[in-house]
Amino acid sequence: MKKLLFACALFCILITLGIVLVLLSEAVLFFEEVPLLDFITGTIWAPMFEPKSFGVLPLVCGTFLITCGAAIIGLPSGLGVGLFLNDFAPNWLRSIIKPVLEILAGIPTVVYGYFALTVVTPLLQRMSPSVEVFNAASAAMVVGVMVLPMVASLCDDAIRAVPRSIKEAGYALGATKCEVALQVTVPSALSGIVASFILAISRAFGETMAVTLAAGSTPKLTLNPFESVQTLTAYIAQVSTGDTPQGSLEYKSIFAVGMLLLVVTLFFNMLAYYLVKRFRTVTE
């Protein structure tokens, strides 16, 4: 029995190996045809047109645009919710906010995509007619709301873990609630808070459905959030829904893009993992 259970645990490592092997095997084929340097530094992404060009920077730029926008919206407000839950919300309010956050976290991403496309974008267009039908801003906004519950609940945990005695020391010195929260609690919970931020960024980075629906499919080097862009994930989704023959350069390119996606999110996740671990040893 123990061996069987062990096999289950080992299976997780197999998944990781599988992911790496699958991506690597196709990506290697891709890089035989397109030099790695051209891929990383190229500024034109045109896999469908002749001459084909596989410079990934436009995709990275689109992803960056949306991740930044989502971070601007989701991170501060997530932290704000965590602080509100700990410092101001009485128990009854807390017991309303927590489930609402859980519901928000449980809404499928495709629903957020629909919401961005049919509600947020028309709203933006009403404010400024120059906003395109597909635009980075609406996608970034909904992704921000999407990561908010995760940031909020992780920040809430981190803030709650700060020993009461330290906060009391702050109050006993004649500090206001705000001063204690910002100058005592937040610094003490910092690594937990930063970890939640990193996880949220990583999630926004790898988010697919909302950006595919709302941000469009025009790989473009732009920082204008009201234009249509394409993200790394949206490109993968676009190719996989089209009829790209297996073995074509285009088909192989999604594995190269996937590899990039994996490396970046892996980096973020490792960072968050060690931050959380450090945070645990500090508070215990």
Partner: protein, 268 residues
């Protein structure tokens, strides 16, 4: 130092009035948590520049009473305080009273050393900074640490973490932190219970020096400690103030049987 009038009432109960001026005065103070009442009708006058010890078995309400002196009970959900506590001639539970300003004037040292997880220097300067201290911070740090008898041990490592100090040093850092605010009163909640005997001794000696400048109210479960350091002792039992008087009197000629049993170690 120890002065006051003892009034014998008809039923043999001794009420003691120390001489004014008073740093704090509790009038009919009741504290309850939800339905359980932790402090019952306590009347207590705490004279300036003395050390007053609150003793009694655990759960007798002495810590709760202490925490009501700087309104730390405000942070306990369901805690309710009635009665009056006078500080500088006004009731600290008055609607117009500002608990933040109050706590700035009544410092507190907690049971477990709780330095902020930052440098020794910042531990001391943080309170004065948020309260708008305009003077020389380096001098403030040195003076406070000297008064807390910690300067010689930490003067070379002010920028190291306060958490790297030993338990006794951490507690003296917490005292220095309270002193830096230049409060009128310092409340101490069993400040030595987590410390070894030699650290305890250091802190006791420190208290005797500090009372020249501050009024100190100390909660302790250690009767010897109360005897060694305090000028007045209040004995509490099940939320009530059983006896209050000069320390020698309370320990040597207690008026109440309950007090006699407690100080002689028969319970508690």
């Amino acid at each position: 130092m120890v002065t006051g009038n003892t009034n014998m009432s008809g039923n043999g109960q001794r009420s003691f009035d120390p001489s004014p001026p008073y740093a704090l005065e509790a009038r009919d103070v009741n504290v309850s948590y939800g339905t359980s009442r932790a402090v019952l009708d306590v009347n207590l006058k705490i004279p300036e520049h003395t050390i007053v010890a609150l003793i009694g078995p655990s759960g007798c309400g002495k810590s709760t009473l202490l925490r009501s002196f700087n309104r730390m009970n405000d942070f306990v959900r369901g805690a309710k305080v009635t009665g009056e506590i006078l500080f500088r001639d006004s009731n600290i539970y008055d609607k117009a009273a500002d608990p933040v300003l109050l706590r700035r004037q009544i410092g507190m040292v907690f049971q477990k050393p709780n330095p902020f997880p930052t440098s020794i220097r910042k531990n001391i300067t943080w309170g004065p900074k948020i309260n708008g201290y305009q003077g020389d911070y380096a001098a403030l740090v040195e003076t406070s640490l000297r008064r807390a008898a910690l300067w010689d041990e930490v003067s070379g490592k002010l920028d190291e973490s306060g958490l790297a100090l030993s338990g006794g040093q951490q507690q003296r850092l917490c005292i220095a932190r309270a002193i830096a605010m230049d409060p009128d009163v310092i409340l101490m909640d069993e400040p030595c219970s987590a410390l070894d005997p030699s650290s305890t001794l250091k802190i006791e000696n420190l208290l005797l020096e500090l009372k020249e400048r501050f009024t100190i109210v100390i909660v302790t479960h250690n009767m010897q400690q109360a005897r060694r350091v305090s000028d007045y002792t209040a004995f509490m039992y099940q939320g009530e103030l059983v006896e209050f008087g000069p320390t020698d009197g309370v320990f040597e000629t207690p008026q109440q049987e309950l007090t006699r049993d407690y100080v002689s170690g028969r319970f508690g």
